[in-house]
């Protein structure tokens, strides 16, 4: 598989602020790639570097086989972008903005434009000044989705959309993938990323901390196990790979590394397994574990055992 986006060791500083600090990002052709990170972690900055709007301080950046700074114009004909903060020309109507942006990109599919306007229930005649936040977002989305391009770069494209529109957005992205387009999707909505993305990269403080398919990311982390047994469980304490063990009467809860799952479950079976809940971490948990204050070593006793 060829890489549509390939970033390695990207550094971008603004004066003394180090917005990107050795970031890596690989997006393969035809995939929907989730780009996740907390506020201020550098998602929008990375996207602006990819679009040649910011000049990298150091590092290697390739986009669609070219250099995003030097070959900006040629590359931009092949991609469409939805900014994180959509500001439109207050005196232009939504329809005019959609037409302008797609014409600049080299043409518009009129039928698709009409379909999208209908699906997103957007009135193209309103002046941009009078659109609601969600409707401004829709203008940018329709302009991007109506263009016939290889790559969609979307910076938090659904902030402000209602759940109904969110569902329509998701089906549009699935169609785009079915047509063979590549999508880079920065998002805070983990459910959205989980529903759409083939692979995700999680960044923090301008650095990539995890990258891979959701399955891969999950396998790197622990599974939470909650079980009830007939007799008190023995032998879990001190078993390698078991973390945050909590025992309350005949119920136990612990997190266990993937490769130790087998051994841990054996102990439960030996104690007479009555019920078992084992859950792979949700993206939310992965995310919180990466940056949240949720400790990875031990869960405070009071939180569960009481």
């Amino acid at each position: 598989m060829t890489a549509v986006i390939s970033v390695s060791d990207l550094v971008k500083t603004f004066g003394r602020t180090r917005a990107l600090d050795g970031l890596d990002l690989q997006v393969r052709a035809g995939e929907v790639h989730g780009f996740l990170g907390p506020n201020g972690s550098g998602k929008s900055t990375t996207i602006r570097v990819l679009l040649g709007l910011l000049r990298p301080t150091s590092g290697r950046v390739r986009l669609l086989g070219g250099d995003p700074w030097r070959d900006a114009v040629a590359l931009h004909r092949r991609l469409a972008y939805v900014p994180g903060d959509v500001t439109l020309w207050p005196t232009l109507s939504g329809g005019e903005v959609i037409d302008l942006l797609s014409r600049l990109r080299g043409g518009i599919d009129r039928r698709r434009r009409e379909q999208l306007l209908e699906r997103f229930e957007l009135d193209p005649r309103k002046k941009a000044r009078t659109y609601s936040k969600g409707n401004r977002q829709k203008v940018a989305l329709v302009a991007a989705l109506a263009s016939d391009v290889e790559l969609l770069v979307l910076d938090e494209p659904t902030s402000g959309l209602d759940p109904l529109m969110e569902a329509i957005f998701q089906s549009c992205i699935r169609e785009a993938r079915a047509e063979g387009r590549t999508v880079l999707l920065s998002s805070h909505l983990l459910a959205e990323a989980e529903a759409l993305c083939d692979r995700v990269s999680i960044i923090r403080l301008g650095r990539t901390v995890q990258s891979g398919t959701l399955a891969e990311l999950r396998s790197l982390t622990r599974t939470s196990v909650t079980a009830e047994t007939e007799r008190a469980v023995t032998g879990l304490t001190g078993l390698p790979g078991v973390h945050g063990l909590q025992v309350a009467d005949r119920r136990v809860r612990f997190d266990v590394d993937r490769d130790q799952l087998d051994g841990a479950v054996r102990r439960l079976v030996e104690a007479g397994l009555r019920s078992l809940v084992s859950a792979p971490p949700t993206l939310e948990e992965l995310f919180l574990r990466q940056y949240g204050d949720v400790p990875t070593e031990a869960v405070p006793a009071g939180r569960w055992s009481s």
């Binding site: 000049r55 900006a72 037409d99 005649r125």
Partner: protein, 535 residues
């Protein structure tokens, strides 16, 4: 003034305190500029018109020169040095004060509303009228401060105290009125730029009405707030009663603004926007098409203003001769037959002053590009297959071509009204050519703004306006203040031969054109190499 106790005014004082804090660096700069302007004019006039002969010569020439009456004010009190100071400085002071009032009031009313800050503020315990009342109070206070600064600048340089205080109060009075005008305009249109346009138009109209009134002596000056201020005749008649007009007019305007505010929704103007087109016209397919669409409203308004100005100035040229006929002192200095030279001198000055205004247009259009960038609207265009040079080049093209067209219109309009009076159609070509002679100078100003935009994006907007102010200051004052030659060289407008008062010369125009090209290239080059900077 206003009673701050009704519920619709809740929070006014808190907002006023906050507004003072936001403007605590800006406003002192305006006030200092006003005080300095008077002080410099006062000291320089006290040197230049030291002798009675010099004063008499000045009185005879300025008092009968339509250009100086058109741009300064009524020629009264020119028998004292203090009177010459009032004559020469009152219009610049008024313009400075009105601009301060306009920017301050609009910033705290429509601009806040446009950016959504007013919504946040109004959701707190804040009455409906509080934001606009706080903004106007701030501006009225600032104008009063400007008056104090003017009075101090005059009195501390040795001019009589009563006249100093009167000049300061009269200046402040025009500021108060235009604070009210801005508050009203801020209710009409939904965009801050529109407010600036309306208020700028009102100021232009006030200046023109006063100029016509003072030259034709038909009382028309009383229709202009600028005329009210100058009717006080500081240091000669020292009349206080004309100040009743701003004192009554300002509260009326403020009440009108409140009344309008009650009739509209937050965020919108009184004029409801009509629905736009569902699809873009063919012309909106390129960065240049977009730039034209964004700039055309302002350019057309400017064109209308410039044409009006040209017609008025051209039409007034005839009165140069009448004025001299009325003034026996002047006939000593300008014997019969030399009036052709005087008319040319007058036309030279009017074309030069209009060129300075066009320089203001070209800068506002050039930094329109920076406004787009700061608002994040350059990003989607630059990410849609448009190169940096093409994007900035489009805005520059509109700024340069637009300014050149404005100059041509100025020359044509002046020429038409001149030709109608004289019956000599050659004036049309001669004056259009003379006006277009300022094109290279105006391009240089655009080039400076472009270079600033490329090199120091965050500071480009104020810096570009300082450039315009500097160029205007040097062009208008360098000669009367006797500044050294190297200062004059800094103004491209002053370096352009003031045809028809002076002779044509190709060399300065060629040098200026080359300089403009170099500056524009520098601006484009540095914009291409730098990051996009949000505002």
């Amino acid at each position: 003034m206003v009673v701050v106790s009704t519920p619709t005014l809740t929070g006014t004082l808190a907002l006023l305190g906050f507004a003072v804090r936001r403007d605590r660096l800006r406003l002192p700069v305006w006030l200092l500029a006003g005080g300095a302007l008077v002080a410099v004019q006062s000291t320089s006039n006290q040197t230049i018109y030291r002798t009675p002969e010099a004063l008499a010569a000045y009185q005879a020439s300025a008092g009968s020169n339509a250009a100086s009456i058109a741009f300064s004010g009524p020629p009264v009190g020119l028998d004292t040095v203090a009177g010459t100071v009032a004559f020469e400085i009152s219009t610049p002071l008024v313009v400075l004060t009105v601009l301060m009032a306009m920017f301050t009031t609009a910033r705290h009313t429509r601009a806040d509303e446009e950016s959504g800050r007013t919504e946040l503020v109004r959701s707190a315990q804040v009455g409906r009228h509080a934001p606009v009342t706080a903004a106007t109070l701030l501006s009225v206070l600032a104008c009063t401060g400007m008056g104090a600064s003017v009075a101090a600048g005059a009195a501390l340089t040795g001019l009589p105290e009563q006249g100093s205080v009167l000049l300061g109060t009269a200046t402040a009075g025009v500021g108060w009125v235009f604070t009210g005008v801005t508050a009203v305009c801020a209710q009409l249109t939904a965009g801050t730029r529109g407010v600036h346009g309306l208020v700028g138009g009102a100021l232009g109209l006030s200046l023109v009405v006063r100029a016509i009134g003072d030259i034709t002596h038909d009382g028309l000056s009383w229709a202009s707030p600028v005329g009210w201020a100058q009717a006080t005749h500081p240091w000669s008649a020292d009349r206080w009663w004309p100040l009743l007009l701003p004192v009554v007019g300002t509260p009326v305007l403020m009440l009108a603004a409140r009344h309008l505010l009650d009739r509209r929704d937050l965020g919108s103007g009184l004029l409801q926007p009509r629905p736009g087109a569902a699809t873009a016209p063919r012309s909106l397919s390129s960065p240049l098409g977009l730039a034209w669409r964004l700039h055309r409203g302002a350019l057309l308004a400017w064109a209308a203003g410039i044409v009006l100005l040209g017609l008025v100035y051209g039409g007034l040229a005839e009165s140069v001769e009448t004025l001299i006929g009325d003034n026996p002192d002047a006939q000593v200095f300008f014997p019969a037959g030399s009036t052709a030279g005087l008319v040319n001198a007058y036309l030279g000055v009017t074309l030069q002053v209009t060129a300075l205004m066009v320089a203001g247009y070209t800068v506002s259009a050039t930094i329109g590009a920076r406004t787009e960038e700061a608002a994040g609207r350059a990003e989607p265009v630059l990410a849609a297959g448009v190169g940096r040079l093409r994007w900035l080049g489009s805005h520059l093209t509109v700024a340069l071509v637009g300014a050149t067209a404005l100059l041509a219109l100025d020359g044509l309009a002046t020429g038409v009204s001149r030709a109608v009076v004289t019956g000599d159609a050659t004036d049309l070509l001669r004056l259009t050519g003379a006006a277009l002679g300022y094109a290279p100078a105006v391009w240089v100003v655009a080039g400076l703004a472009g270079a600033l935009l490329g090199a120091v994006p965050a500071a480009a907007v104020p810096a570009a306006w300082i450039v315009v102010g500097g160029v205007a200051g040097i062009t208008l004052f360098a000669e009367s203040f006797d500044w050294p030659g190297w200062v004059t060289v800094l103004s491209p407008v002053a370096r352009t031969p003031a045809v028809p008062a002076e002779k044509w010369a190709a060399l300065p125009l060629l040098t200026l054109s080359a300089l403009a090209v170099a500056l524009l290239a520098a601006g484009l080059g540095s914009f291409r190499r730098r990051d996009l900077v949000p505002g």
